[in-house]
Symmetry: C2
Subunit: 250 residues, 2 copies
DNA sequence: TATCAAAATTGGTCAATCCAGTCTTGACAA
DNA sequence: TTGTCAAGACTGGATTGACCAATTTTGATA
């Protein structure tokens, strides 16, 4: 391989990838941190020697991965806030490959039973209130399924937060978004929301009591019951409604 | 809200989002399945009434989420093959928020101990060979750390595949990509690869024997040991090498 | 009928231009 | 001196039209 062909192969990188890699490099070096503003698109285009539409395509790719956010007139920023994986990729995957309700619940059991156990082991005092508040919210919205569901999902995320592991939290949030999308279509048909709220309360109490084994048991029982409950909600549903209402934040 | 303002608010969707939503809709309806070819960019632009650069930005966003793949001259296709979440989003998250090795291993324990347990419960005969072959590959490459690592990662993915849950598999693949990126930087310093291979073999045997409890125990023990092993590999490392070598398939 | 080169197709990129929000600046009034 | 707000600069959002490069298709030729 002579110098010329080597040079060519190096220049062979696609321009859009070059934009993504450039931002990735700045992040790796710590020169770009959450909340930071990127240089303007026009400037970035000049720096990298590519056109603005190319830069924009790259920024859209980064935005799709949840790395950046753009505000017209203000600029493009590295996503701030807690570590978060968007629901988009998993939603598309679910729509494309037809994930079943049972498969999703099985994955939830692995993730959330583990998270509940860790949360109980940790026993971080300042993580209790957020969980308890969502339980209270559930009891307060027993007659409003949609609002109940929101508290339900937030309770599960609060548990993952109490597990104090950002990786686990990101995974739980991703899958809980998927659950929310599915469930919000059928939750109106739910009954026994009171029983559901009480199960959540028992999970909370186990975590509060720092009893990992009980926390895992209660979470397992809850998810098993929730699975069959959702199954019954889906029974008499107008055809064509269910087949994966997708798209979270894509 | 009158008709006019309603109309305006509907047209207010950003053009790029419109492209993504359009493809998402086609996927939801089943009109676009894995492996299918999309209509050409020019045609898509005309159909949606947007410009081609806008279409391209949308397609890049979809590609970043692993939904589509474009081949110059051939067309743009819905990603085929097994359900897969790219490593990109998690890698960026890790780089931005500085996930620690221990946090990643803890998340792995939740996911992979669960997967190993499920794999043992299922006991699918046709999933045994792929696992066993990777174990053999490890024993065959005890003196070649980089090759050993590849078999290592593939073994863990094979377990997730044996759990027969595509959601779990996608999550395990995503995090194992992250592990691979990190580990490949330090694996040259590894010793006791033989002990590692033997632990993997014991995990395999437990799954083969359909003993979920033992499978979970062995996986837990393996990950705990692997964590401390990797920690020691990172001890005397040239400064600046570690701080998150990111980027998987972004 | 088989081969292969030309043409059509399709993704990859650039250039220049305009629109639409946001932020900054400075003049004016209280 | 200080507060207010309008004009202008800045920045992302999008379009048009053009050209390049890789692939696929087509059709003429052997």
């Amino acid at each position: 391989m002579n110098d010329q062909s080597k040079k060519l192969s190096q220049e062979d990188v696609q321009s859009v990838d070059q934009v993504v890699r450039h931002i990735a490099l700045l992040i790796e070096r710590g020169q770009l941190r959450p909340g930071d503003r990127l240089v303007p698109e026009r400037e970035l285009a000049e720096q990298l020697g590519v056109s603005r539409p190319t830069v924009r395509a790259g920024l859209h790719a980064l935005a799709a991965m949840g790395v950046t956010e753009s505000r017209q007139g203000a600029g493009t920023f590295i996503t701030a806030g807690p570590p978060r994986l968007g629901a988009g990729p998993l939603s598309f995957l679910a729509a494309l490959h037809g994930f079943t309700r049972d498969q999703i619940f099985e994955a939830r059991k692995v993730l959330e039973v583990g998270a509940a156990g860790l949360a109980a082991e940790r026993g971080l005092a300042d993580r209790l209130a957020p969980m308890s508040e969502e339980v209270a919210g559930m009891f307060a919205t027993l007659t409003e399924p949609q609002k109940f569901l929101i508290h339900d999902v937030r309770f599960h995320r609060a548990i993952a937060a109490a597990a104090d592991n950002p990786v686990l939290l990101a995974l739980v949030e991703m899958i809980s978004s998927l659950v929310y999308e599915q469930r919000s279509l059928t939750v109106e048909r739910a009954h026994d929301l009171k029983e559901s709220a009480e199960m959540h309360r028992r999970i909370y109490q186990a975590i509060r009591d720092k009893d990992p084994q009980r926390a895992r048991q209660e979470m397992t029982a809850h998810l098993d019951l929730a699975r069959s409950a959702q199954a019954s909600e889906e029974l008499d549903l107008p055809a064509g409604v269910l087949p994966s209402r997708v798209m979270g934040n894509a």
